[in-house]
C-alpha cells in the first residue's frame, strides 16, 4: 500500500486549499477596499428595506389600506447571523488554519478549524435563513410585488456579506513576497 501524500491526509475532513495567487501589493489593498464596500453595500441594502418598510404607505390615489407586511425582527436575524459568522472567520489566525503543526500544540490547529467551521456554518445559516424568510414571509403568502422587495433585499444582503468575507479572506491570505528593500 502506498503512503498518502504529505499534502493530503485522508483523516482530514476539512481541507482548506488556499489559493496562492501571486497578487501584487496593490491588489491586496484593492481587495480590502472592495470587501469594505461590499460590506457597507450589503448592510445598506437591508437597511433600505427596513427604512422603506417603516415609511411605507399606500399610493395616494388608492384607498388607504395599511401595508400587509412590515420588516420585523425575524428579518434581521439572518443578517445578524452572517455578521457573527464574518466576525468569527476574520478573527481566526490564518496561519493556524493552514495546519503547520510545527509551532504550538496540535490542539490549536484543531480548535482553529473548529471555529472556522462555526463561522462558515453561521454564514451559511444566515444565507439559508434569508431564503427561508423570503419564501415563508413574502413569496408563499403572495404579498404584492413591492413588498417582496424586503425579502429579496434580505437575500442579497447575505449574499453580499458572504462575497465580502470571501474577498477579504482571499486578499488577506495573499502570500506577500519577501521584499528586502534595504536602501542605505
Amino acid at each position: 500500500m502506498s503512503l498518502p501524500r504529505s499534502n493530503y491526509d485522508p483523516r482530514r475532513v476539512c481541507l482548506t486549499p488556499f489559493p496562492n495567487w501571486s497578487l501584487g501589493k496593490h491588489k491586496r489593498t484593492m481587495g480590502i477596499y472592495l470587501a469594505g464596500g461590499l460590506f457597507a453595500l450589503a448592510n445598506w441594502t437591508f437597511l433600505d428595506a427596513a427604512i422603506l418598510s417603516a415609511h411605507a404607505h399606500a399610493p395616494y390615489d388608492d384607498p388607504q389600506i395599511p401595508p400587509p407586511v412590515h420588516v420585523a425582527f425575524v428579518d434581521w436575524l439572518p443578517g445578524i447571523s452572517s455578521l457573527l459568522g464574518m466576525l468569527v472567520i476574520n478573527l481566526i489566525d490564518k496561519d493556524r488554519v493552514r495546519g503547520e503543526d510545527g509551532f504550538g500544540d496540535s490542539r490549536a490547529v484543531w480548535r482553529a478549524r473548529l471555529f472556522l467551521f462555526i463561522g462558515f456554518a453561521l454564514m451559511a445559516g444566515g444565507l439559508a435563513g434569508s431564503v427561508v424568510v423570503l419564501v415563508l414571509r413574502y413569496v408563499l403568502p403572495e404579498v404584492p410585488e413591492e413588498y417582496q422587495y424586503y425579502g429579496y433585499a434580505n437575500v442579497s444582503q447575505n449574499i453580499a456579506l458572504m462575497l465580502s468575507s470571501v474577498v477579504l479572506w482571499m486578499s488577506q491570505s495573499v502570500s506577500s513576497e519577501y521584499e528586502y528593500n534595504l536602501s542605505i
Binding site: 469594505g36 464596500g37 457597507a40 445598506w44 437597511l47 433600505d48 495573499v174 506577500s176
Partner: protein
C-alpha cells in the same frame, strides 16, 4: 507633483466650496436638513486611514504591506465612503428627501471627497527621504 503650486490650492479650495454649496443647497431648497449628514460622512471618511496608517510597522518586517490595523483602516474607510453614497439613495428611496436633493448631495459629497483625495495625493510628503 511634489511642488504643487498655489494654483492647485486655489482650485482645490474652490472645488471644496462648490461641494459644500451643493450639499447645503440640497438641504436648504427643500428645507430638509438630513442630507447634511452626507457632508459629515465624507469629511470623516479619510479618518480611519489616517489613524491606522502608522500602525504598519517598520520597513524591516516581512509583511510590510499587510498588517492588521492598516487593513482595518482601509476596510472602515471603504465602509464610510459607500455609506456616504448609499445614505442619500436610501433616503430618496423611502421618500424622505426629494430625488433632486439626493442627486445634489451625492454630487456635492463626491466633490468634497475627491478634493480630499486630490489634496492628499498632490501634497503627499516624501517621507522615505528622511530615514
Amino acid at each position: 507633483m511634489a511642488h504643487a503650486g498655489l494654483k492647485t490650492v486655489i482650485l482645490l479650495s474652490f472645488v471644496l466650496a462648490v461641494g459644500f454649496l451643493m450639499i447645503i443647497l440640497s438641504c436648504a431648497l427643500w428645507s430638509n436638513w438630513l442630507p447634511l449628514l452626507v457632508a459629515l460622512i465624507f469629511v470623516l471618511a479619510p479618518l480611519p486611514n489616517a489613524l491606522f496608517a502608522h500602525c504598519g510597522g517598520d520597513d524591516f518586517t516581512a509583511d510590510y504591506e499587510g498588517s492588521g490595523p492598516v487593513d482595518l483602516g482601509r476596510f472602515l474607510t471603504s465602509i464610510v465612503v459607500v455609506t456616504g453614497f448609499a445614505l442619500p439613495l436610501v433616503l430618496a428611496h423611502s421618500e424622505i428627501i426629494r430625488p433632486g436633493a439626493c442627486a445634489m448631495s451625492i454630487i456635492g459629497g463626491s466633490l468634497v471627497y475627491g478634493t480630499i483625495l486630490a489634496y492628499s495625493a498632490a501634497f503627499k510628503q516624501d517621507e522615505s527621504d528622511f530615514d
